[in-house]
């Protein structure tokens, strides 16, 4: 059997990059390990460039086990960009709070590799492999601040819960295999399109909803996320909130819109209800939060709710909307968490009350926070507005109640987002000393801000890209 390695260019180079980072860390004396961050960063940039160049690559490996298409490429680019932004924005944070551990960088590379495998996965085995590679890497990353009790607690919580969800996913896979006799997603699709929905299949489907619902932190499988988001090192939280969530949506789309398309009427209401619950719980519980990371965690639960809306109709427009929203969500979330990280560097606190007068101490950080929060709230002309518009326009016919709910919940979200803004802009700082952020963080912040504004004002290029990727999804 011919095995076309060229289809795996990006994954292989990512793998080599991970190993190289690791070996470099072992070889280099600990004094000069600072450069490893830069090495990993340039390596990721190179792989990103390679992925962009391979945008048009198409192919299937091992009878559908591994799919290379624009859809996968889109999510690979997304994950790589996230990893790059996260590393670049947090170089200083990592040096000060995590020590100069090279493991941090190689683990991020491997987590990203896991995400890339998920994006391309064509059957249950490769999907599970990707999920585990990503999850185990994340467990390490979450518990990285080994001197900090909260970080360790978060690590152990994530470990247990992730294990639970992995088990459920596996169980779901096995039930679906039992019902259809295949593990290849596209063959599952053929089976479900032809046959009736058997209870085994539905039970397996529910397991998948639960397991992947955990990954995207959709209510009621979301309970882990606030604790883990709060305890994990801030850059890791950002990476977890964006990368892990986005590729889990990629997997959800592959599994449900492609694989389980035949039983669409069995899951559309289910997904709609989960979306509604996530929007409601995420937004309501965010209101009383006093810790910025917990607030962002609940807001991220709500965002998962918005994203699930794009799944409901199982249409190309919905896929496109999910992809578009995932991408703009990268910038808003990484921007917000980078601000949290740079502020924490100086004031050693994540309490919202300590953000008083941030605009006087770090105008850029306050501005970026403002833009990112408003984008998440969906205020025009920022990217979040366009994204929500795409998402909700897919369900206008048929699920109008979901649109109304989304509108109401977005309005509520404005309240708690603006509360943060109010503290930053209105209150006087306790200590007026300016916060020095470092040029890498500055550049990251500017990139996220410009991207958020640009995608809001001129969404069409990304929208077209997402469109062509969504079409490739259906060309099978």
């Amino acid at each position: 059997m011919h095995f076309d390695f060229s289809l795996l260019t990006t994954e292989l180079s990512m793998f080599i990059l991970g190993l190289a980072t690791f070996v470099l860390g072992l070889v280099v004396p600990s004094r000069s390990r600072r450069g490893i961050g830069a090495f990993a960063l340039f390596g990721l940039l190179a792989v990103l460039g390679l992925t962009v160049l391979n945008w048009d690559q198409q192919g299937v490996l091992l009878n559908g086990m591994y799919l290379v298409d624009r859809y996968a490429m889109f999510f690979k680019i997304l994950c790589l960009s996230t990893a790059i932004l996260v590393i670049f924005g947090s170089l200083r944070y990592v040096n000060e709070h995590l020590g100069n551990h090279f493991e941090y960088y190689s683990t991020i590379v491997f987590a990203t590799l896991g995400m890339m495998v998920i994006a391309s996965a064509g059957d249950f085995i490769s999907l599970y492999l990707g999920i585990e590679l990503m999850t185990i890497s994340f467990i390490i990353l979450v518990a990285f601040r080994s001197q900090d009790g909260k970080s360790l607690e978060a690590g152990i919580k994530y470990l247990l819960q992730a294990g639970l969800s992995s088990a459920v996913i596996l169980y779901g896979f096995s039930l679906i295999y039992a019902a259809t006799g295949t593990i290849v997603i596209l063959e599952v699709a053929h089976a479900t399109l032809q046959g009736q929905a058997s209870p085994l299949l539905i039970a397996g489907m529910v397991m998948l909803v639960a397991g992947l619902g955990f990954k995207v932190s959709a209510v009621p499988f979301h309970m882990w996320s606030p604790d883990v988001y709060e305890g994990a090192p801030t850059p890791v939280t950002a990476f977890l909130a964006v990368g892990s969530k986005a590729v889990s949506f990629a997997a959800l789309l592959r599994l449900f819109v492609a694989g389980l398309a035949g039983v669409h009427q069995q899951w559309d209401i289910l997904v709609a209800v989960l979306a509604a619950l996530s929007m409601i719980i995420g937004n309501l519980v965010a209101i009383p939060q006093t810790n910025i990371k917990r607030l962002l965690a609940y807001s991220s639960i709500a965002q998962a709710g918005y994203l699930l809306v794009g799944l409901v109709t199982a249409s190309p427009a919905g896929i496109k909307a999910v992809m578009f929203y995932s991408f703009l969500y990268v910038f808003a979330t990484v921007g917000a968490f980078t601000v949290v990280a740079v502020v924490y560097n100086k004031i050693k606190s994540d309490e919202i009350a300590d953000y008083a007068g941030l605009v006087q101490r770090a105008p850029l950080a306050a501005a970026v926070m403002l833009i990112c929060l408003l984008s998440m709230a969906g205020i025009p002309p920022l990217a979040g507005f366009v994204g929500k518009f795409y998402l909700f326009s897919t369900v206008v016919s048929g699920y109008l109640w979901l649109v109304y709910l989304g509108l109401i919940m977005s309005m509520i979200s404005v309240y708690y987002y603006l509360r943060v803004v109010l503290v930053m802009f209105r209150d006087d700082p306790k200590d007026p000393a300016p916060i020095e952020m470092g040029s890498a963080a500055n550049i990251t912040l500017i990139i996220t801000m410009v991207a958020t504004i640009f995608l809001g004002i001129y969404p069409n290029p990304l929208s077209e890209v997402a469109n062509s990727a969504a079409i490739s999804f259906f060309l099978k």
Partner: protein, 645 residues
């Protein structure tokens, strides 16, 4: 170069926009540098715009088939918006005119704003304005045009209120913004209707679809309503009655701003928009008549106010309102050519006169009352003589620019009347009478300001070269700029027309008539304000017709009427709504907010932090979902909607 310019016309607005960004983020602390950046960008933009204009005017193909290129801005199923560039003689003419006047006025501003602490900010605003205005001019889509339309409104607001320490300036800025917003709201409604009915806001697309409006299932009545709604925007922006009140007050801004925004460019945006959407108005005679009458009425109305005003810039402002009415009249009677021609010539002579007025104010340290001036032409010859050229142009003395365009408007109005339109002759009469008044009040101002006895308390001096140079250029254009549209060789009419080009024979009678009107107006002013050194006769006349004089001097009490309306009606109803808001709405909202907060608090306690609970919730949810799907899914699906069921 020309091909490059034609395909890169979007650079014309982009260059000043870039200058804006550079000034705001980089060069703000260095005023001189900021000014240089701004002017350099503006001048490059002008050069490019000239090439575009050259390219368009040397290629007759563009007249019938505009060059359009666009970019998908926003797209989804069933709704797309393209932004783009549309080049035809009309937009090329505007592009050329706006970029040139903007360049000259920026040069002028280096002298006028010299030493102002906000110098850099001023230039950044001017750049932003130029960018928005140039973008508006080449817009291929009405939504794009509307956004830029709002942006020029914003710049106007910022620049009117530029002297933030002056209460009157702040008030004027607010007034301008709110008044024009009223118009914009109507226009937005009209645009929404167009989008909903015709499914596009592209000018080219609409021009194709609107004539077949019956196929889109709407009646002539609805189309008339839409057209009038769209026209409300230009009423506000171009200072037409009854939304003209903001324009005279807008003179609180620095004089270069008055010249650029409130005389030559932004205020004609309304006229331009009507010109661009003439395919809509020509379909609905009712709406076109409304435009013609509002235009003619505004023209005479503002002219009768201008004859008694005392402040130099206020006279010019009312004159602007009046001339804008003239342009609207031309468009209302269906002549794009005449309307745009007057827009073109007016831009030169009115910018010239505003800048001249600025030069006078500069010399007299902001003394604005024309009665306190006199004989300035001796000390300020360049300002004075260029101003006289502007006066000759606006009065309509051949061969100066204003004569040709005004004559053209009279010709088309007379034709309109002869075609049997009811009240067409009334329009013609109003237009002619306005021409007479215009010549009179303009020359009243010129005689009082520049001629007669010098006042000993004034110590005028000629302005620096940076200010007189633009005056000279504009004076030259005001003198010869109309020659491209003479009845004998009407190049203008060939380039810019709607429907069939106008092939009128030169109407010598009408020409003579209009010159006679101008001469009569100037003569009357000469008699009253130059020969009569004590101005006894003028004062006697004012005494004799005191009620009329007062009515005019107080601008027909329109402002007072609006004030009264605001105080009595708006405030009273506001009080009622306020009570309702405090006692009913707030309680509901607070209650809702409280409930939301409370539910947030309640749900929060659910979150214990114990991982056993988390796992329990996880599995419970799994179980519940499975059970619901096993037993209840069909009914649930029925109640929640969905595409199946």
């Amino acid at each position: 170069m020309v091909d490059f310019a034609l395909t890169h016309a979007w650079l014309v607005p982009l260059l000043p926009a870039l200058a804006f960004v550079i000034i705001v983020f980089l060069t703000r602390p260095w005023p001189k540098l900021s000014g240089a950046v701004s002017i350099a960008a503006m001048f490059s933009s002008f050069v490019l715009a000239s090439s575009v204009a050259y390219g368009v005017f040397t290629n007759p193909g563009f007249i019938e088939r505009p060059l359009i290129y666009s970019l998908r801005w926003f797209g989804m199923e069933g709704f797309t918006v393209d932004v783009g560039v549309m080049l035809d003689p009309t937009s090329a003419m505007m592009l050329f005119m706006v970029s040139m006047v903007a360049t000259l006025i920026q040069i002028y501003s280096t002298g006028y704003m010299h030493g102002d602490p906000q110098y850099s900010v001023f230039f950044s605003y001017l750049s932003l304005f130029a960018a928005s205005m140039l973008g508006l001019v080449i817009s291929s889509n009405l939504l794009q045009m509307f956004i830029l339309w709002e942006l020029v409104g914003l710049c106007s607001f910022l620049l009117i209120g530029f002297y933030t320490f002056k209460i009157s300036a702040r008030e004027a800025a607010k007034k301008a913004f709110i008044t024009t917003r009223i118009g914009d709201f109507g226009m937005l409604l009209g645009l929404l209707f167009l989008q909903i009915i015709f499914g596009t806001l592209d000018l080219a697309g609409l021009a194709e679809r609107v004539p077949h409006y019956e196929q889109y299932g709407i009646s002539l009545g609805l189309l008339t309503l839409i057209a009038i709604l769209v026209f409300i925007g230009p009423i506000g922006k171009s200072g037409q009655f009854p939304l003209h009140v903001w324009l005279p007050d807008a003179m609180e801004g620095p004089t270069p701003v008055s010249a650029l925004i409130h005389a030559a460019t932004m205020v004609v945006a309304g006229v331009y928009l009507v010109g661009r959407t003439l395919f809509l108005f020509s379909e609905v005679p009712g709406a076109a008549e409304v435009i013609a009458f509002i235009g003619a009425f505004t023209a005479i109305f503002a002219a009768t106010i201008a004859i008694t005003q005392r402040e130099i810039k206020r006279i010019l402002a009312y004159s602007t309102v009046s001339q804008l009415g003239y342009m609207m009249l031309a468009l209302g009677v269906g002549s794009l050519s005449a309307g745009m021609f007057h827009l073109w010539t007016h831009a030169f002579f009115k910018a010239l006169m505003f800048l001249g007025a600025g030069s006078v104010l500069h010399a007299l340290h902001d003394k604005a009352d024309v009665w306190e001036m006199g004989g300035l032409i001796k000390k300020m010859p360049i300002t004075g003589w260029t101003f006289v050229i502007g006066g000759l142009a606006i009065a309509g003395i051949p061969p100066f620019a204003g004569f040709w365009s005004k004559d053209e408007i009279l010709v088309v109005t007379l034709e309109y009347a002869r075609q049997g339109h009811a009240l067409g002759y009334l329009l013609f009469f109003l237009a002619s009478f306005t021409a007479l008044l215009t010549a009179f009040y303009m020359w009243r101002m010129i005689f009082l300001t520049f001629f007669g006895k010098e006042k000993p308390e004034n110590h005028p001096h000629e302005s620096p070269l940076s200010m007189t140079f633009p005056l000279l250029v504009l004076a030259a254009l005001a003198a010869v700029g109309g020659l491209i549209g003479t009845p004998w060789a009407n190049v203008w009419g060939k380039w810019i027309h709607f429907g069939h080009p106008h092939h009128g024979e030169p109407n010598y009678g009408l020409m003579f008539f209009s010159v006679a009107l101008a001469v009569a107006g100037i003569g009357l002013a000469y008699r009253l304000y130059y020969q009569d050194e004590e101005k006894k006769l003028a004062k006697q006349l004012a005494e004799r017709y005191q009620p009329l004089y007062k009515l005019s001097y107080h601008k027909y009490y329109i402002d007072e009427l609006y004030q009264w309306f605001t105080r009595q009606v708006v405030d009273a109803s506001a009080a009622v709504f306020y009570w309702f808001d405090i006692h009913v709405v707030d309680n509901i909202v607070n209650g809702l907010a409280g409930a939301t907060k409370l539910s947030g608090q309640g749900l929060r306690y659910f979150h214990t932090g114990r991982i056993q609970t988390y796992a329990l919730v996880f599995f419970l949810a799994l179980l519940v979902i499975t059970v619901v799907l096993a037993f209840g899914s069909p009914t649930l699906a029925g109640s929640m909607g969905g595409v199946h069921s």
